[in-house]
């Protein structure tokens, strides 16, 4: 691979992320939105709040994939990837909850509507991943920590999906828009233009999360190598 290809591979997706975020965040603020008596201008949060959830789900799925990879091929690198993507996913989830509280304060009148199955599901889902980090903190041996936490990551994932995507649908009601708590968009609320901006925002925010995670993983790798060198000396 020559230098030019490498440059493109390294930077193209970061530039794409930058462009997507800048375009979606600015266009989202000025673009015309359909009239909605209840939401008014806050319907624009579709470009800021909802991509957090999509990004979180994607990052956590990547974390799961690397956990499975670790179980089939136990290398320190796979563990760094798995735990790193989980960290960023949890940060996105917490940002989603906090932004959702503000939106909820406007649209529903209360920042924390515990009757909403989506809120319940997501907060338990976050507890699930915080428990994952507690588990990691409780095991001293590096390899054992990586293996056991990978097992927990895989084992807890069906519950996470059930909490976020299946329970709200089965509950049959939700304050969130969309058909019966459907995580997808309500076609009445979001017209085609809004959806395009939303997808651009999702791509940008998710790629940004991937970039942050990769930086984190590189730092972990350097620390790991440094500590190994010290042991060898």
């Amino acid at each position: 691979m020559n230098a030019k290809d490498k440059f493109i591979q390294n930077y193209s997706w970061k530039i794409l992320s930058f462009l997507c975020v800048v375009i979606a965040y600015t266009v989202g603020l000025v673009m015309k939105v359909p009239n909605d008596a209840k939401l008014n201008e806050t319907i624009r949060n579709l470009y800021y709040h909802v991509p957090m959830w999509f990004g979180m789900t994607i990052l956590l799925i990547v974390s799961l994939v690397y956990a499975i990879k670790y179980l089939s091929k136990p290398t320190a690198e796979n563990d760094f990837y798995s735990s790193g993507f989980a960290t960023t996913g949890v940060v996105y989830g917490i940002l989603g909850i906090i932004t959702g509280m503000f939106w909820g304060a406007y649209a529903w009148g209360t920042p924390w509507e515990m009757k909403d199955p989506k809120m319940i599901g997501v907060s338990i889902g976050m507890i699930l991943y915080l428990a994952y980090f507690v588990l990691r903190g409780g095991i001293a041996d590096t390899q054992q920590r990586a293996r056991i936490s990978a097992v927990y990551n895989v084992f807890a994932f069906p519950s996470f999906i059930a909490l976020i995507y299946i329970m709200p649908r089965l509950a049959g009601f939700s304050l969130h828009p969309g058909k019966e708590g459907n995580p997808g968009l309500n076609p009445k609320d979001a017209d085609a233009q809004m959806r395009i901006v939303f997808y651009i925002s999702t791509v940008g925010v998710t790629l940004l999360g991937v970039w942050i995670t990769l930086l984190q993983i590189r730092i972990k790798k350097i620390l790991f190598n440094l500590e190994n060198q010290q042991h060898n000396i």
Binding site: I124, R147, Y152, F155
Partner: protein, 224 residues
Amino acid sequence: MQLYKQIFILLNKEWLLEWRQRNTLNGLLLYVACAVFICYLGIGMKLEKISPGIWNALFWIIILFASVNAVSKSFLLERKGLSIYMYTLVRPQAVILSKIIYNALLMLIIALVALIFYSLVLGIPVQNKSAFILTMVLGAVAISSVFTMIAAIAAKAENSFTLMAVLGIPVVIPLFLLVLRLSKNAIDGLSYSVSVQDFAMLIALNAIYVALSVILFPFIGVNH
């Protein structure tokens, strides 16, 4: 040796161990009795009849916490040398399956005892009895399969007993919510056709968790 034979032998061993030192089993039953009595004191004395919703929630919460206590000992209290020796003889799949089956049976016994105590002090407002029993069986399998695997995971970390609840309860909540809803439907006397979707969902989740336990348990490893 075939898998089912190994499972049978291990089940036999679990039961023998339990039967020889009956104090753990007795303690568990007493725990359930105490919990039911406290519920009675807290609610039943004031209200002549508690609403089915509260009855349902209390019943399953008692069973959930009894199960955390019951299942946590399945990996945490094992003597290490003995278990390592035994696990060289049998397949890991047989170990986890036998533990799940044993814990499910234990859970059913606990649930039945809790139901008996409940009927004594608070009455049983269940209308669709067969649906309630089916829910109890599925719930016992669900809770035991999740907590058995979580106990195996938590046994590898420090302060395992606390970690057991922290790790297990968020995982079990979707199953628990389904069980709560199904048993509420059974109490209200709704027919099977209403809750068939939930039953299918619960069975599917059960199958996923048992399969995941069997696949993932060999990775945990028994040697410390």
